[in-house]
């Protein structure tokens, strides 16, 4: 078992959690008193993306890796575009999960977050953009974190996608309710649920379908590129390969 060096990941994360996030919550209470739950949760969601972006920016990346990520972002945005006629039926989450599993958690996060931004250039940015960035970003990150388990079986990945779909829907609903009333209003939540339940089911179904369909072809290609050009070499992957060899 490899010994994981426990250093402060970077000063930014530290600063963020100790200073920035509490400060933001206080600001929410002081300035936006009626809606401070909504403000604080949205702000914290956005802020929590920063350490990951920072890590990505700081670490050593080959030029090829950057462009590969760019291409993957373009592909997932294209996928969303292709299925635009079937709303809520998007391959984006599936692609993000596969990227997270094959290329690591930071890659997953970046592809997830940027897919939201890029595809929204065509669909229109909206108040949902930060949430989509956060959601798809963290789905990719989590997929990378759990890649050991998810790699074993397509079904696990599909299940992960299903859970992710549910969580995203619930999160959006809860936030919308809190935003509307300033507190959690159960009546309004049921109202929101009645409209969002069909959408959530569509998310889950589309995630599962796309994951089952795409995981083999996509991960094969990604693995091949990885090995052929020596890209996205992560520590866990290295030890795995050493173990095999």
């Amino acid at each position: 078992m490899k010994e994981k060096a426990r250093k402060i990941k970077n000063p930014v994360t530290f600063f963020l959690f100790i200073v920035a996030i509490p400060a933001v919550i206080v600001c929410g209470v002081v300035f936006f008193r009626e809606k401070h739950y909504a403000f604080s949760s949205a702000a914290v969601a956005i802020l929590s993306c920063i350490p990951l972006f920072y890590t990505f920016e700081r670490k050593e990346s080959k030029a090829g890796e950057l462009i590969v990520l760019a291409v993957l972002v373009a592909i997932s945005a294209l996928g969303r575009f292709l299925f635009a006629w079937l709303p809520s039926f998007k391959p984006v989450a599936a692609i993000v999960v596969i990227v997270g599993i094959c290329l690591g958690k930071e890659a997953g996060f970046v592809v997830g977050a940027l897919s939201a931004v890029v595809s929204n250039f065509f669909f229109g940015q909206g108040p949902w953009t930060p949430f989509q960035m956060f959601a798809w970003g963290f789905i990719g990150f989590l997929a990378g974190l759990l890649s050991g388990v998810l790699k074993k079986n397509r079904i696990f990945a599909a299940l992960f996608g299903a859970v992710a779909g549910v969580l995203y829907s619930v999160l959006m609903d809860v936030w919308t309710v809190v935003w509307a009333d300033g507190t959690f209003n159960l009546n309004r939540y049921f109202l929101a649920l009645s409209t969002s339940l069909p959408v959530m089911i569509q998310y889950v179904v589309s995630n599962v379908i796309f994951l089952l369909l795409l995981s083999k072809p996509l991960s094969d290609v990604l693995e091949r590129i990885r090995k052929k050009y020596g890209l996205f070499v992560t520590e866990e992957a290295e030890t795995e390969e050493e173990g095999e060899a």
Binding site: E34, G64, L66, I67, V221
Partner: protein, 293 residues
């Protein structure tokens, strides 16, 4: 004075962040109303009238939906209008729903203009200053998008020619589609790596690279930025001291607003109307000059 969208991206960002913060997280009906007015008038100024009118119909629909649904959700309020299934449908609840609907419409309208004004070029510019690697990824992604569409079309035609999509069964066609996807991904990733190699050859890792910046920060930008920040300061002070508090329940707050409240409301009105005023001002200027020719 320039058109709103001609100002420096940082100014635009500061503006939209302020405006969205105040629209989304305050409850005072006047604030929401001003925001709605500002957003919609700017849309009218920059977009075709028909498009905006269509949007307005959508807002109206949203409006009715949310405003009418709110009394179902909240029964607080001193003025019951009638009783539904044993619970009161109150005037206060209805009004809260109306304000909520205005708020949502205002936010959507602001994003409508945001999408027109803050282009990908401006976003990339701002991102490049903060996180160069990310901006490389983002700009490359944007560039690859049309490229991929074209290539996907080519792969599909080639596949058809080879007889891939001829299969009778639906599953067969899905498999053909998947192999096309696989081909597209392989091709594009190989392209990506090659691009990376060429970037490295051209020294993208070297220090001391300068980059071309299409946006310069001028005195006019500073002036508008100061205006935005000053308005923000006034409003935040009012918010922080509770001057802009507004209660809907149990009864609608009808006391006369204090001095700070009035000042901050005026500041907000000016802030929300800024883009529309700039745009219309420029239009007037142009018409004036053209008449002189």
């Amino acid at each position: 004075m320039r058109r709103f969208d001609e100002y420096h991206p940082a100014v635009l960002l500061a503006y939209y962040v302020s405006v969205l913060l105040f629209s989304m997280f305050t409850v005072h009906p006047l604030v929401i109303l001003f925001s709605f007015t500002g957003a919609v008038s700017y849309l009218f100024a920059i977009d075709r009238k028909r498009r905006v009118l269509k949007d307005l119909w959508f807002y109206l629909f949203l409006f009715l939906l949310i405003a009418a649904a709110n009394p179902l959700v909240s029964h607080n309020g001193v003025t019951p209008l009638f009783f539904l299934n044993g619970q009161a449908v109150t005037l206060e609840s209805l009004l809260y729903g109306v304000v909520l609907a205005f708020m949502l419409s205002a936010v959507l309208a602001w994003f409508g203009s945001f999408n027109r004004v803050v282009t990908s070029e401006k976003i990339l510019f701002l991102l490049g200053k903060v996180s160069p690697k990310l901006s490389i990824v983002l700009s490359s992604a944007l560039r690859f998008l049309p490229l991929l569409r074209r290539k996907a079309g080519e792969i599909r035609s080639a596949g058809k020619a080879v007889g891939l999509y001829a299969s009778e069964s639906w599953w067969g066609r899905v498999r053909s589609g998947l192999s096309a996807v696989s081909a597209l991904v392989t091709w594009s990733l190989e392209q990506a790596v090659e691009t990376g190699v060429s970037m490295k050859a051209r020294g993208f890792r070297l220090k001391g690279r300068t980059h071309f910046s299409a946006f310069r920060f001028s005195g006019k930008d500073l002036a508008v930025l100061i205006f935005i920040l000053a308005a923000d300061a006034i409003v935040f002070t009012a918010l922080g001291t509770g001057s802009l508090q507004f209660a809907f329940y149990p009864r609608i707050a009808l006391e006369a607003p204090g001095v700070l409240a009035v000042i901050s409301l005026a500041a907000l009105l000016l802030l929300f109307l800024l883009p529309a005023v700039l745009e219309i001002g420029e239009n007037i200027k142009w018409r004036y000059y053209r008449r002189k020719i």
